[in-house]
């Protein structure tokens, strides 16, 4: 990533979208919309003073909504470019309220609330489409109750829980526990505020709130409005304290999730959605189970799948190693349903086809190995580029020209073409780069490509 940012031959247009494309291979004219960041890219040093002071909290998309970020933000800590961006949907200033704190603290004077979208015109010889994929939305499968049961998460959400730079600092905390912890902080703030208000009364009347309240309840000061306020404040304060104590007591029993279930083929190999295999999810689940076990050695994982497809160099060995040393059990069968048991524990109801029985088991956390779906906006983008998509919304290619789209001069690589893992994406990217180079370096490319 860093190399892209500093390579003299690469112009990085982040936070931008392709609006229009005209022309043909060797001579395309492209219009790119550079969306307004409201931060000047050439002035921002990436120091982060603005996002420390921004008062608006927003769910963090990079952490799959498991954490929060500010309305002025870096997409993630090591992001390239490190230029901050202001979220126009949540920024107070951009939504007509009084704020502008970021502009005040920015020493580089990079904040510019008047910035507008810019249209950049480019002339290129070839185009490579590497639009990636979106995670399949498992709430389309009602029996898995994703979003209904808090402790059912997707593989990419679990990835953020495992990550040391994630919202939990690498501790596998359950979302139901995180929700309780998230409630504690605002209550603590409320208590601080009400304590300050009570202190004022205590100073004014030179009496502790409790002493005063005892005399107040015995019937004194009934017609004193100021003291009535004090009494109301005090009862409010006590009730918040009680709620907070309850939550804190509950939070003491929380620990990391140690019994994990991975459910394979969520949306893939499923005739209701994507009938094909997404390819990488079996290995992804095994990897997550191994890493979880490294974090917390008592962690056990059960992987429910029709079969575990460990196809690739070193993959089968990895799967076996996971079973032997990382507490993974492989169960052959599809999960019928997930229900919620006590303590927000998800209960998995499944058929074990080796044992020929239907069984149920409860876990701390269930991870759904979601299918690879085409990215949002792929249909619009394909119309702009004039390329054809396949029946599922991935870019149409042919077996002997796997990186050529239906338009000469436009190539595709990575998951935009079909589901694939990281090494395959990298290999295909180099292949697409080579096909693009053929066009820009060979003036007679139109003669046609020799096919093996």
């Amino acid at each position: 990533m860093l190399d892209v940012g500093r390579h003299p031959n690469i112009e990085l247009l982040a936070y931008s979208e392709v609006e229009n494309l005209e022309g043909q291979a060797g001579d395309f004219k492209v219009f790119v919309r550079k969306k307004a960041r409201y931060v000047e890219e050439n002035k921002c040093t990436g120091c982060g003073a603005c996002d420390e002071k921004c008062p608006t909290m927003v769910p963090d998309a990079f952490n799959e909504g498991l954490g929060t970020r500010r309305a002025v933000y870096a997409y993630f800590a090591q992001g390239i470019p490190s230029t901050r961006t202001i979220d126009p949907d949540h920024c107070r200033q951009l939504n007509g309220k009084k704020c502008g704190i970021c502009a005040k603290v920015c020493q580089a004077e990079a904040i510019n609330f008047d910035q507008k979208d810019q249209i950049v015109e480019l002339n290129v010889g070839a185009v490579i489409l590497a639009a990636g994929y979106d995670v399949f939305d498992p709430s389309l499968i009602p029996e898995y109750r994703y979003r209904e049961i808090p402790n059912v998460v997707t593989a990419i959400e679990f990835e953020r829980l495992l990550s040391a730079s994630g919202p939990t600092g690498g501790h596998v905390d359950r979302p139901s526990d995180l929700a309780v912890k998230a409630d504690i902080e605002p209550l603590e703030k409320k208590i601080k505020k009400s304590s300050r208000a009570l202190e004022k009364f205590e100073k004014k009347y030179d009496q502790t709130s409790q002493e005063f309240y005892n005399t107040f309840t015995s019937g004194e000061f009934n017609d004193d409005d100021d003291r009535k306020k004090w009494a109301d404040k005090y009862t409010d304060h006590l009730s918040i304290v009680q709620i907070l104590e309850g939550l804190k007591e509950k939070a003491k029993t929380f620990g990391p999730a140690k019994r994990l279930a991975f459910i394979q083929c969520v949306g893939s190999r499923d005739f209701r959605f994507y009938p094909f295999c997404s390819g990488y999810c079996c290995m992804h689940s095994i990897k997550e189970a191994i890493i979880a076990n490294e974090h917390e050695p008592e962690t056990t994982s059960t992987i429910f799948g029709m079969d575990i497809r460990a196809v690739g160099k070193g993959f089968e060995e990895y799967k076996i190693r996971g079973g032997k040393t990382s507490g993974i059990t492989y169960v052959r069968g599809r999960v019928a349903e997930i229900t919620e048991g006590p303590e927000h524990n998800p209960v998995v109801i499944y058929e074990d086809t080796r044992e020929r029985k239907v069984d149920s088991q409860d876990f701390d956390l269930v991870i759904l190995a979601t299918a690879c779906a085409p990215p949002k906006g792929m249909v619009e983008l394909s119309k702009i580029l004039g390329i054809a998509l396949d029946d599922y919304g991935f870019v149409k290619t042919s077996a002997l020209s796997p990186v050529d789209t239906t338009v000469p001069g436009i190539f595709v690589c990575g998951c935009a073409e079909s589901p694939m893992d990281v090494p395959e994406s990298v290999a295909q990217a180099s292949s697409a780069a080579e096909r693009a180079a053929e066009i820009v370096f060979q003036p007679d490319f139109e003669k046609g490509k020799a096919i093996a």
Binding site: H7, A126, V127, I128, I156, K287, A432, A437
Partner: protein
């Protein structure tokens, strides 16, 4: 004949294609929808089968 190349998407595939072409001396314009490049791979903690750090 135009010698520049446009790459749409700054995930691992787009990054790899950009670097390959840029190293060949081709001028590359890399367009990414989100504020930073990195894509899905940047969200991963580690990669299989070597458990290498993803970023």
């Amino acid at each position: 004949m135009n010698k520049d190349v446009l790459i749409i998407g700054g995930g691992i595939a787009g990054i790899q294609a950009s670097l390959d072409l840029a190293d060949m001396g081709v001028r590359v314009h890399l367009v990414e929808n989100l504020p930073s490049i990195g894509g899905k791979m940047a969200q991963l903690d580690k990669t299989f089968p070597t458990n290498d750090c993803a970023i």
